[in-house]
Subunit: 406 residues, 2 copies
């Protein structure tokens, strides 16, 4: 049996992957902070993406979708302004950002994708963006600094950069997968104010990449929630540029399983970093729903619970209020049998067959005092299982969000 070694590359980001450079600069959209990031691939890359389901979509989301099937070389991302609800001018600005970046880097306009995050409804300060783009050719580089600069430039209310990188060593050769993300408020399943950018050096056909990326997103970016709002700009992109010679991921190649494993790891690590940077978080809730009929339904249930302000404030208050959990389960809109439901908080069962189980308040207190709390719900009607992550709702959340625009 051949040896496959998957290793985490600590503190590394996008440029740990062959054939990519990155940069993050300050162009003045935000005050004294980096606000323009660029990812550059030395080779034509195939791209796959997952986008917001919000009916109101920002101009750059349209620009990304329209160019998703092109051979991509550049992704340019700004923070501080979402370029959303900006009408025709916004579309023009998004396309101008693509054209200017492409021109600065000597590629075709259709080979550049644009993402934006920030305030909605304000025109893009294009003079600043254009000045920033001029800095890019010189700023692009490889290494830890490049990884971090790019990751910083996409942040908004985030308190930390979010990075994840892996390498896979096999006798046939090595390949890599890495990503960076932003998001802390407004994080919800279906991509709320979240941007994620992954790059890999394998060769892979677009349909397979899209399929694998959609699946990995469903188990990571789509099962995290901070406040249930879904934004106008959420986008997760992956590029694959084939720089790792001879490594082609196909449905029946030996590289498929290690690639899937790395993809799942990177997506999940980025998603968890987003939740852990959740606005005002004092608790990280890991919720598993098992015994469900379908994964998709279980995901809806998990979101319903993790989005419930009453569940969230109960965890903030360190209160084992399983009644609020089962109530949120009940209004999720997915069928189940309430009289079968078992609920555990930490190691302790609090409900059996839909009714109360006595538990030690003292032991439960210790579980709830921890920052990391696990909740297990067994619906006992099927065999599907989903794990999702959420946060509590704290005073700090309100402080952060009460004056974001001003």
């Amino acid at each position: 049996m051949k040896e496959i070694k998957i290793s985490k590359l600590d503190k590394r980001g996008l440029t740990a992957v062959s054939g990519y450079k990155a940069a993050g600069v300050a162009c003045g959209i935000k005050k004294d902070k980096k606000d323009l990031a660029v990812i550059y691939s030395e080779f034509d890359a195939v791209a796959a993406g997952v986008f917001t389901c919000n009916l109101v979509q920002a101009a750059p989301v349209y620009q990304c979708k329209a160019n998703l099937e092109n051979p991509i070389r550049v992704v340019v991302i700004n923070s501080g302004n979402a370029n959303a609800c900006t009408g025709n001018q916004g579309m023009q600005d998004a396309y101008a950002m693509a054209a200017d970046s492409a021109s600065a880097l000597g590629v075709d306009p259709g080979q550049a994708m644009v993402c934006s995050t920030g305030v909605i409804g304000e025109p893009m300060p294009m003079d600043k963006v254009q000045a920033g783009i001029k800095l890019i050719p010189h700023a692009l580089s490889r290494g830890i600094d490049a990884d971090i600069n790019a990751a910083e430039a996409i942040l908004t209310t985030d308190t930390k950069v979010k990075l994840s990188a892996y390498s896979c060593e096999m006798p046939e050769g090595n390949f890599h997968l890495a990503g960076m993300a932003k998001g802390s408020g407004m994080i919800c399943p279906n991509m709320a104010t979240m941007l994620a950018f992954l790059v890999t050096d394998v060769k892979i056909k677009r349909p397979l990449l899209q399929k694998l990326f959609s699946e990995a997103s469903d188990r990571s970016f789509n099962v995290i929630t901070v406040d249930g709002d879904t934004s106008t700009n959420d986008t997760a992109l992956i590029l694959a540029n084939g720089a790792a010679e001879g490594i082609e991921v196909t449905e029946d190649s030996i590289y498929l399983e290690p690639f899937k494993e790395m993809l799942e790891k990177v997506c999940r690590e980025l998603a968890l970093q987003i939740v852990e940077d959740g606005e005002g978080l004092t608790k990280l809730i890991t919720l598993t729903i098992k015994g469900a009929v379908e994964e998709s339904g279980a995901r809806v249930m998990a979101r319903s619970i993790l989005n419930s302000p009453l569940v969230k404030t109960a965890f903030y208050g360190e209160d084992a209020n399983w009644g609020r959990i089962i109530a949120a389960l009940g209004y999720a809109g997915i069928d189940f049998d309430p009289s079968l439901v078992d609920i555990f908080i930490g190691p302790y069962q609090v409900a059996r067959d839909g009714g109360a189980v006595p538990f030690s308040e003292e032991k439960m207190k210790k579980v709830l005092e921890e920052r990391d709390i696990s909740v297990l719900i067994d619906l006992k009607i099927g065999s599907a299982e989903v794990t999702a992550w959420g946060t509590d709702l704290s005073h700090e959340y309100i402080n952060i969000n009460a004056d974001y625009r001003s």
Copy 2:
């Protein structure tokens, strides 16, 4: 033209209506507070009801539904314990509450309906409830004290009693409609932790009463939201006992319109009192969506906006963040054209055709400093219009909800 005079009966509740008595006593479920209310009709009453859509429904909800078509004489309501997630014992207890109340008042067990509100998953302290029911025959009376005692006994985290009463004088005779309600946290469209009890002395057939009550609920109880959670116990009931001699409301009677008007007034006033007692409320948001294709879709949109934590914290922070409003509109799941949307906050337009409209920050500040804030959204695609009410999300909300169970 005959004269119709509809008058508000200030500070009055249920017993302003002919043929009803009420009581509220303390039986010890809650500490030192009234926690058991009874509504008694001197005549057989037809009943109509609107119930929670939560898949997890408390035992008393089943009991009410099962008896809704009977000639009703008694409604018994306890606060402090929801009798939810209590299994077969809970069903037994709900039916025992009905039987004991009926027996104490000399009516049939099937003529009594039961409602409960409070903590989920704890067994009903039936010894206390039974002791309380013994006090009822003596406690039942008419007048302001009876109105208030009953209204107090159904409260949980509410800070105020919620009452509304109207009389209608016509040459043919007078009739009345009154109601009481509870609810402050966990209030959402589709009846979240809300109880409402209305009584009238008209004669009316059950199907018409149900139709009118469902319509009035859709425009009142179902368009208020504090935190979007839908509880296991929400119930709104109306009784009509025909004590106003000669007044029968039918589809073509002269009483139909004044009755509908009173019904709408009482439902709306109770609903608004619930929102205004919203947990931690510092702002009351009145949201109108016009130009919609259908009322039902507009209601879903209104809930999406008023439930958004980001919209709610923005209002708490007195921030005219219309981007969050349009984003919440976009993920409501109802079709519309983002490039047509106009938004007004107070008298000032902030968005036109989906894009920003410059406004005076100074004038807007004055609008947002007020407790009552109106928001108007014009979708410009149809002629349906809905008005809904919500609150901001404040620090106080978290204080109240972080330790409700403990």
